[in-house]
């Protein structure tokens, strides 16, 4: 096993890796940019090195600087976390060249899976399903008819020059096909000055569901269940859970096998994730991409399977064999992760960097706190706004949601606005509670419903604000009175202030 590991990251994920190392008895080296001197990861690691100025390109994204520190600190291995250099094949190779183990898969796997085209080719060869569609454009009506028969309904006609939701038309059945083909072409010509159109399967009720994979360097590979990641805002995941409310055992089995095929295409040898787009209507699933690193949402899988993915990944990199067999993998209970960000959910998710002046993290049974902040910490403007992850576990989905609601009611982050209130409101939404959502849910339905939510505590807010105003007024008048009259206050108020606690 390794003696010392450098963690080439910051924030909550760096802290996560430090914790895993500590529990394994491995020494840790943190790196930090100028603005991260007070970062939690620096405080909890055994060693710490400054690697440059705030902009990531000059610090966390600077391979040479990180290798330099790794050599100086004499580490055996580097854990890249997620983001930054975690999916950089060149960096993985640079580590190897310097005889430092890169805690991740082989560079070739990163390279192939990092490219949309090469990854699709690789997995298609293994018969992993891709969204059915064509690579060329439709030549004429006959060609269109042929492809429609092949793909099936509903299908999507798309302007080749289109994008961002424009120039697309859904076709529900064969009787609508020719009209739609002509209309799309004509619109495409008008809008993009190009009438080229192609065809793709329409995924109804699209959900984002991913399969966690573990592969070692001895050819062993297992799948460790799925995560439901459809609660997204503008393609950013916000809430993840395991298991998915729509996946049953046979489907899990089929998705797991497809994911293994994808991973085998690149001789995958670490922890990794195969992402699928799944139709909530037909339950068909199609390969999207593979992430060749630890995911932000890995804890929900850990909670329901009891497998420590972070430790397992380190063990694999050290050359150990997988400690778990496929038949040992069992999902038990339900876990939900809320990503807590320094963003204002009541103001279009505007970033809110700043200093955290008060903090109360929820406790009690079934709560896991994965945060990279602390009271007094200044959330810098230079990096991702994710400051913490709240992970809850319950015996089933209903219990997990109830517990999550309870935990969010205890969570206090003072000084900056965060997405905690957003999560609390999602946990009360009936569609979410029923598992009835897709990747468009937040942007469309939830936002509408949230804007019209009931606000039963309005009166309490008014009372609180009014008393605060009253106290400020009293303070002002007391001060001015004291200044005028040399402290001649009425005795009752005086005794009130002395007798009561100073922090009233």
């Amino acid at each position: 096993m390794f003696k010392k590991i450098l963690i080439a990251n910051r924030g909550e994920i760096a802290v996560r890796v430090v914790r895993a190392c500590k529990e394994l008895g491995i020494a840790t080296v943190a790196v930090y940019s100028d603005v991260d001197r007070a970062g939690l990861h620096v405080r909890v690691a055994d060693e710490a090195y400054c690697i440059g100025p705030a902009p990531a390109r000059q610090s966390y994204l600077n391979p040479d600087k990180i290798i330099e520190v790794a050599r100086k600190a004499k580490v055996d291995a580097i854990h890249p976390g997620y983001g930054f250099l975690s999916e950089n094949a060149d960096f993985a190779e640079l580590c190897i060249k310097n005889e430092i183990v890169f805690i991740g898969p082989n560079p070739q796997a990163i390279r192939i899976m990092g490219n949309k085209t090469t990854s699709r080719v690789a997995v298609a060869e293994m018969n992993v399903p891709l969204v059915p569609g064509m690579k060329e454009n439709l030549r004429n009506e006959k060609h269109c008819q042929e492809w429609a028969d092949k793909i099936g309904y509903p299908l999507m006609l798309k302007a080749a020059a289109g994008g961002g939701g424009k120039g697309m038309r859904k076709v529900d059945g064969p009787d609508k096909l020719m009209d739609a083909f002509r209309a799309t072409k004509s619109e495409a010509l008008k809008s993009f000055n190009d009438d080229a159109v192609y065809m793709e399967r329409y995924i109804e009720n699209p959900r984002h569901i991913e399969i966690q994979i573990l592969g070692d360097k001895h050819g062993n590979m297992i799948h460790v269940g799925e995560r439901e990641c459809s609660i997204q805002r503008r393609h950013q995941k916000l809430i993840e859970e395991a298991p998915s409310p729509i996946v049953d055992d046979p489907m899990r089995q089929r998705m797991g096998e497809a994911a293994l095929k994808a991973a085998r295409a690149v001789d995958y040898d670490s922890a990794g994730t195969v992402e699928f787009i799944v139709s909530g209507t037909t339950k068909e699933f199609f390969f999207l991409e593979m992430n060749t690193r630890l995911q932000v949402e890995h804890p929900v899988t850990e909670m329901v399977t009891g497998i420590d993915l972070c430790k397992e990944m380190i063990r694999i990199a050290a050359g150990e064999k997988l400690s778990i067999q496929q038949e040992d993998v069992q999902m038990r209970g339900h876990a939900i992760e809320c990503r807590i960000s320094a963003e204002d959910p009541d103001n279009d998710f505007l970033p809110t960097p700043g200093k955290i002046v008060g903090l109360r993290i929820p406790g009690g049974p079934g709560i896991r706190d994965e945060s990279g902040m602390y009271e007094g910490f200044e959330v810098p403007i230079h990096y991702d706004p994710l400051i913490s992850k709240l992970v809850v576990y319950g015996q089933d989905r209903q219990n997990a949601i109830a517990r999550c609601r309870r935990a969010l009611s205890e969570y206090i982050v003072k000084g900056i606005k965060t997405t905690i209130p957003f999560h609390a409101r999602v946990m009360l939404n009936e569609h979410f509670i029923n598992g009835d959502f897709d990747t468009n849910f937040i942007d469309n339905r939830f936002n509408m419903e949230d804007a019209e939510r009931e606000r039963p505590h309005e009166k309490v807010a008014v009372i609180g604000a009014a008393i605060k105003a009253f106290r400020l007024d009293q303070k002002k008048s007391r001060t001015s009175l004291a200044a005028k009259e040399g402290g001649g206050m009425n005795p009752w108020k005086l005794s009130g202030r002395i007798g009561s606690h100073t922090n009233r």
Binding site: P351, P353, G354, P385, I412, A461, V462, A469, N503
Partner: protein
Amino acid sequence: MNYVATFKGEDVRVKVEESGPGLYRVRVDGEEFEVDFFSVQENIYSLIIDHHSYEVDIDEVGRDQYSVLLKNDHFDVKIVDEKKKKLAEKLGAGASGRQEIKSPMAGNIWKLMKNQGDSVKEGEVLLILEAMKMENEIRSPIEGVVTSMAAVEGSAVSAGALLCLLNPVEN
């Protein structure tokens, strides 16, 4: 003390009396409440209102403006001394004059979309601010003219810094 509280554009009369140390009698819209108001942390209060317990986060965010977070719901409440309000109303309803556009957060000025002298429509983008790997569009709240652009491309600004001044179009 008598106040007028404004929430979501509606006014309501509020009367606050101190009935003991940390204890208040509050009348809202004719209904009376006994409130035990306890400061547990900076700007975080434990309120017990007629035996119901609430944790309330109350920040004074501007003159007479309070931002309240309560049961994970957010309320912007304005609390004005009744006498002051009457006086202000006598002096005429707030002439909507020059607009100061301030930075809602710390960040870097990514791109100016308008310059001094440009006309802007309501909702039009004035400039783009970058913070935490994200671009944030700062839009004009009114139709008007940019009378001064204080922001400089590529420079850093702190939260609340003046970005530009707008003069409204006269109707």
